[in-house]
Symmetry: D2
Subunit: 338 residues, 4 copies
């Protein structure tokens, strides 16, 4: 950590800050520049709060040099964390695991048929929303616990482990018992109370990146879960909010190599929510594999009865099968198993 004192700060005021830092058990090196004096903090600075130092009126800026995360950092854990659920192994080298299923759980038939279809095409896990985070209080909020029962039935039938989103700390017990991977949505990425509860949980957590969260904040949210005792976190990039309005969000694929470098945790991509357009799912999925992601979570819709969506915007089972074939073909040559 580096502390930059304001120009023309008096010697004695610099000394006050130096004493304060030394009292925390750190060494300080003083660099006197033409205009600025810069203090280099030597030692374990992870407990130093930059905001507290900023309280001093003579401090101009505090720059962190060490990353603020520890347990998620690859620096202290050079090997990939591999999370094995069913036939999926997230984080295993040269392995690309796909989670697929409907956006919302609507009925037994819908989920069962979709589950069978995606399994046949090579998906390793089934996704489906039971509790839905909706911008409007008047929108359908999901089948809730009944939706979980439907997912369990589909798991029973197909053997696919299930992934679904949690929205409240009240539900942790049920989810821990019934669900195979507990998803935390983008809007709850900094719901710290929920993260603390999930840190005590025995099931893997799928942690989506917040719409306007930096990579560092995302890893810090994972750090909450690991610090609580749960080492199994799968990160998921799902697009960030930018000025561009053509796509619903801007998928930040650079975040994948960044996360792989900074952390040992697996990271997957959601190509459905980021773009918000089904015809973009295929190219973005191919790019996710090429950029080094550990897998995908894809929406696949099955609505044979309703005339309206006979050509649904989320992939239908046929389109998903095509996607899986293309991923397998591309993966083969670059040594990645789908």
């Amino acid at each position: 950590m580096v502390v930059i004192m304001k120009p023309k700060t008096k010697e004695e005021d610099i000394e006050t800050v130096i004493s304060y830092i030394r009292d925390m058990g750190l060494d300080v090196m003083v660099n006197k520049g033409v205009n600025y004096t810069v203090l280099g903090l030597l030692g374990d600075t992870s407990r130093v709060d930059p905001d507290t130092l900023m309280l001093n009126v003579h401090v101009d800026r505090v720059m962190r040099i060490e990353e603020p995360f520890k347990k998620v950092s690859r620096k202290f854990h050079p090997e990939n964390t591999v999370i094995k659920i069913g036939e999926a192994e997230f984080g295993k080298k040269n392995t690309f695991s796909v989670i697929a299923g409907p956006c919302s759980v609507e009925s037994d038939a819908q989920v069962k048929e979709t589950a069978e279809a995606v399994k046949k095409s090579g998906a390793k896990l089934l996704r489906g929303g039971a509790f839905k985070p909706r911008t409007s209080p008047y929108s359908f909020q999901g089948l809730e616990l009944r939706g979980i029962e439907i997912l369990k039935a589909a798991r029973e039938e197909t053997g696919l482990p299930i992934v679904t989103e949690i929205m409240s700390p009240y539900m942790v017990e049920e989810f821990e018992r019934d669900v195979d991977i507990i998803q935390v949505g983008a809007r709850n990425m900094q719901n710290f109370d929920l993260l603390k509860e999930l840190g005590k949980c025995s099931k893997p957590i799928l942690l989506k990146r917040g719409l306007s969260s930096t990579i560092e904040e995302w890893l810090m949210s994972a750090e909450y879960i690991l610090a609580g005792g749960n080492q199994n976190v799968i990160l998921c990039e799902r697009g960030i909010r930018t000025f561009e309005t053509y796509t619903r969000n801007t998928l930040d694929l650079s975040a994948i190599p960044a996360v792989k470098k900074l952390s040992h945790l697996p990271v997957i991509v959601d190509p459905s929510h980021s773009a918000g357009m089904s015809w973009m799912v295929e190219p973005l999925s191919m790019a996710a594999m090429a950029v080094g992601a550990d897998g995908l979570i894809v929406e696949v819709h099955n609505c044979p009865e309703k005339a309206l969506c006979d050509g649904a915007q989320s992939l239908n089972p046929k389109q998903f099968e095509d996607l899986m074939n293309k991923l397998r073909t591309m993966g083969k040559n670059i040594g990645i198993n789908v």
Copy 2:
């Protein structure tokens, strides 16, 4: 609501969509353009989900014309909502109410002294953080329930009602009993489960805008609380996340006239967190009044013992007094009471 069909969609496929819309009890007007056919939906479209219409493969885009919010809308409630707590009246015409106090509750003495000082200068409510949302699990998370007791003691002594942040639905009962305004922080603006609980609560809610939330999403989060039965929501603009890094966040003062036009709810400004620099608090506070806000929530720090922060970055009591005097002077001429 307007539905735009893809170019070259066949007559029969357009008919399918029209039938679907008519089945919801709406009328449809068909506008045939050179390339696009546009369907105008006539009737109460508030229950129509644009995402469901987008499921149809022939639909190009769905454009909402009506705002999605109702209870917070000024259209159906032309008069300002006025929320009276102690001597403050948020939303009352020509009235500007200031909430002030320390960022974190640290000790009885700190809170008591700050409370007395800000009351003397004209603050109408006392703020202070007991539960702190922190990016890092290793940072101090606040004095929690003991912090609330400290705030209550300061209220006892000064008569100032207290404002503090809630982070978990588990705490709603305690907060409803002990706190005068319950604050929802920016990171929890779309914690819908928490919003639903607060909708059943009898105390006013101070709803901060999320770091990357649009004005519409912010009002929809308020709609959750009003839809639950609690009509007393005070909105708070506290800066949005942009590319600019000089200030911590970019205070969006245009949001104030926008909210006043769209909604009947009061809206205040947090000039401390947005900029992250104490010397900007004064000009931003003046601008907040001039742009039409109903008040402020300001950080005032009092730390007589600790050498480090004898010139703290948040305002000290003397600087706060100066600010209040300037606000009163400016307000006088433009007919605003502070």
Copy 3:
């Protein structure tokens, strides 16, 4: 400047970087932390290019401590630069100067009538677009040189100096001869060749902030003009591009105190283009004065003949008069002359 070496860099590789820096005539202090070695550069670092240092594979990051600008910096020029044109004095303490006029120059009558109206209400300069930067090649590109003649005629008649936008280095000679303040639009803020030409020019430059330019980049563009020899630059905040779509751009009023602190140059606000809605011009103008801006540039439209715009979205002369009265009233009490 601070150079952070990658963890586990060998002694000899650190020495290579140190030698390179010493060869530029700078001193280096070495701070050895637990994981990182940090080099503090002592001396005049303004000529050091961080990107060149980043070319070294062992360098992790380079952090600038000194601001990169010099001639625009208040540090080396503590007094405000005051730019006097006609009756306006941009940058003079407690003075607020308003530029007003139509978006596009359309006809003699339109400009003349608008000029007379805004002069009567207290505007000190007349604005009007002759060369128009348009997103589409098919849109009206302005009356060009004929538009300048119309503005000159209005100046003749009213005595108001004229402000208009330049788009090409080819036009510098004409503008220098005919125009009183040469405006550089947001899209050309980093058109460095144009800035260089304007640096040799004798007329003041109104430099609008780019849609996605940081405050530092904006000041660096002003630095280009000052470095070329032209000391008279007026900065203009006109909104930045963010995710929010309710307003066309997000007016960044925090930039005003930031610029006033960092630089001695005057800074004004454009409340018309930022929001894109005429009813927001008044509150944003009031806020601009309260936050410390040196003035405004406002669109005022006069179209008595055309039925379509009898209630134009840019202010009409009557609305502008009301605005000026409100600014004068508010200014009076806080000691600002309009």
Copy 4:
């Protein structure tokens, strides 16, 4: 185009707007909703300026349904434009062409050696900056015309066509004569005067996306060039400005399928400038191919003499060779020739 009238607009005021639209030769369909009246404009709306309609005080919003571009649109030109230069064929199906070379032209030896190396590895064109857009007036501005001579000499020697950036309309003649592809940098994407000049030019233009430009604005800038008569534009995605600071910019790979759908023009990716880190060039290049780009423009640095950059952050020739091999391997299986 759809025009939404404000709630409670009187019949006669709606009629004024309808007449105005009919006078432009368009038909109007009137949709009366519960609160809003919506006018559907039928006919060729490409000449209608939404801003002019917004001047009417009773107009609430104008929504464009047709895209504003024509000549760049795939709708009117379904086949890919293929631009052939040397051995590269940008836009040809299943073809991926790579441009490589140093960031700045520094010396004959540097350029010649780099050119030979990248040619050997399979690059089809040589890039190199002669005129450099620099944020600071004090930074090295490039070798300018002498840099172009160096590039020409390298072309002579290797046969590789050359790509370099233009910054001023003054230079169009020289560039048209000497350069094979004329690059327009991100900062000049909306330098409309320069675009107009390039529209009259006989050489292909490489048009980089502006840092905060939407896909639509980018295509509109290409439209300027095509409207001027030059049909050969290669688009280049190079990262957009977002809140994320880990990478210098956020590479928007979703823009590639978007552009391919909207336009017939070829589009390539710059993986060097977007991330700003050499170790990210490889994964981002792989992703660019997988997502459907027509090629890359990559920085390759060759500095055998200078100790500082013996492991430069831009790729060295060996790293570039590895990258090309990986691209060829991956391309083979998915039918793409590199």
